[in-house]
Symmetry: C2
Subunit: 332 residues, 2 copies
């Protein structure tokens, strides 16, 4: 059983999940390559994963390969498991709790594609709809206070399987990184009466220098305080605190922009490892005036070192204005 443990000094939880050491990747540590051999995410190998919790039928060219287009399955080596309730225990000075939560994998194509940028817009739209459907389903369980969608693509980004996929973790707590955003946004709102992310959208459109792309509904930009070279965020222009409250048109437009952005990043940086993640309002509150959901893309072109771990400050050698101009000016 996984276990939450909290640092006794700072607000930092870890999840101790020793069963994850059994993942095939661990054997490949020395060569730091992704696992080869039969791919559990490929059409035809469905029996290699736990049974699906969501399947979209195939209605496009994929129907020659499989009966499904997107498949969501429980993670076979979960970091958290859905067993019982949240029970914090304080043993001496150390806090622990059962590693409660839901951990799912969104298999993003039936064929063995290794870069999401290779998929077409319709497939991106299905994937985003699958994210929404799973979040909405998980939110009916009142134990989950937050849901994080994230992608690890490439070994440097922490992927253990190369077949395109992303992951979803629902947690009985609001994790620190999200909580800090919610609090920062709340403070700004209390001070000004406005949403700080809406102010960022306005300022980025005004400045223009960090914009990568723009539609009627979203902006794609390299944030002013980018931690990493070519870090790129997508924000809805209209205030919206939750990812899962979008309209069909929102997801269609986001699908187009997200695909366009990943293609630009891949053309610029080569066959790249990246993480992306979706920050959305905690489940406790349906919608708020101050929090604004967004998607953060973190390309892995540089390593995190001792200075970053020791300080929490990130050294970035590429100006976001430079990265944005490069991405924006690419002829596709």
């Amino acid at each position: 059983m996984p276990e939450f443990r909290k640092d006794p000094v700072v607000d930092r939880w870890v999840i101790l999940a020793t069963d994850r050491a059994k993942r095939p990747q661990q054997d490949a540590r020395e060569k730091s390559d992704l696992v080869m051999g039969p791919c559990p995410f490929c059409a035809g190998n469905e029996a290699m994963t736990p049974p699906a919790v969501l399947t979209y039928d195939s209605d496009g060219p994929q129907s020659k390969i499989a009966t499904w287009s997107v498949r969501v399955v429980p993670n076979k080596y979960p970091a958290v498991t859905d067993a019982g309730g949240w029970m914090e225990q304080s043993n001496t000075i150390y806090q622990t709790a059962a590693g409660l939560g839901a951990h799912e994998v969104v298999i993003e194509a039936p064929e063995h594609v290794v870069s999401m940028a290779m998929l077409d817009e319709n497939q991106f739209e299905r994937i985003l709809n699958a994210y929404r459907d799973r979040i909405m389903q998980l939110q009916t369980d009142s134990r989950w206070r937050s849901t994080l969608i994230y992608k690890n693509q490439g070994a440097d980004a922490g992927a253990t399987l190369e077949h395109v996929h992303s992951q979803l973790i629902a947690l009985p707590l609001v994790p620190k990184a999200l909580q800090e955003e919610v609090e920062g946004a709340k403070n700004y709102h209390a001070r000004t009466g406005s949403c700080i992310y809406c102010a960022v959208v306005d300022e980025e459109i005004r400045a223009g220098s960090r914009i990568v792309a723009e539609s009627g509904r979203f902006i794609v930009f390299c944030p002013h305080a980018s931690r990493f070279p070519y870090e790129t965020w997508i924000l809805p222009k209209q205030h919206a605190s939750r990812f899962d409250s979008g309209s069909a048109e929102d997801y269609r437009d986001l699908a187009r922009l997200l695909r366009d952005t990943l293609v630009r990043l891949e053309r610029s940086l080569g066959n790249l490892s990246l993480n992306y993640l979706i920050h959305s309002n905690p489940s406790d509150e349906i919608a708020t005036d101050y929090y604004h959901w967004h998607l953060e893309i973190l390309p892995k072109v540089s390593k995190v070192g001792g200075f970053e771990w020791g300080s929490g400050i990130y050294i970035n050698s590429v100006a976001p204005e430079h990265a944005a101009r490069h991405l924006r000016d690419l002829r596709l």
Copy 2:
């Protein structure tokens, strides 16, 4: 000129240092190997670095190779530079400031050794003394509010040169990661009248299961809420808030234990990439009852993924109790 930039929502500074893109490593990005060619840190190549700010004479077997045993030089591609005063500017919603600070490199041996574990105890002692000497010197400059010592060993840990070295950055602010520890420790002290790190020392000695090694002056242990497999910390047993306030005997004992720990980690995990860092009380305060300096060793055997970036929660697949037993039981 480097620049500090602050995220508008959360308390997260980045340092934009575009000159660092000129480092030789950047060309090697695709192969992700360390730079080859003439090593600027080797004896005989002293002209390849800026002039030394501290040199220890050679008094041991190294004297055949070089006139020095440890050399500290300004970083040729600094993340922060010592030019002028701290000036925060708020441009619209974004905060920026000049990238002020000192960034030095501690060259840990005149010969081309690539793993610190290969050095002998006397050399470890000289290195720790060099850390202390540079911290004490930099603290005479009232602009620096904190000094961070850190090591990047191996490409996966962010090193760009393989010759054994560590780095020192003095900053005009207290970085978030340190500030959180100081505040956590201050809160615990206000509640209990004791130092939380002293309580950790007591609890670890009582429990025993996470201890790797112990001397009269220090304990070496895998922390209860380890973020990473084989994460290992060294804490002084006697309360001491600053690394640089140790006695000659303290550094000699720490040299022996740090070397022993790195040898154990290398034997256990293979030729490994690792970071270590020293957290010491901010310079503003000479000593406090609540903060307790320590050294954190972070082996790089797993990758950080989207979940960690998005949540601030670390998934660790190796129990610290298992790691500690393994390290402790090794016959050297």
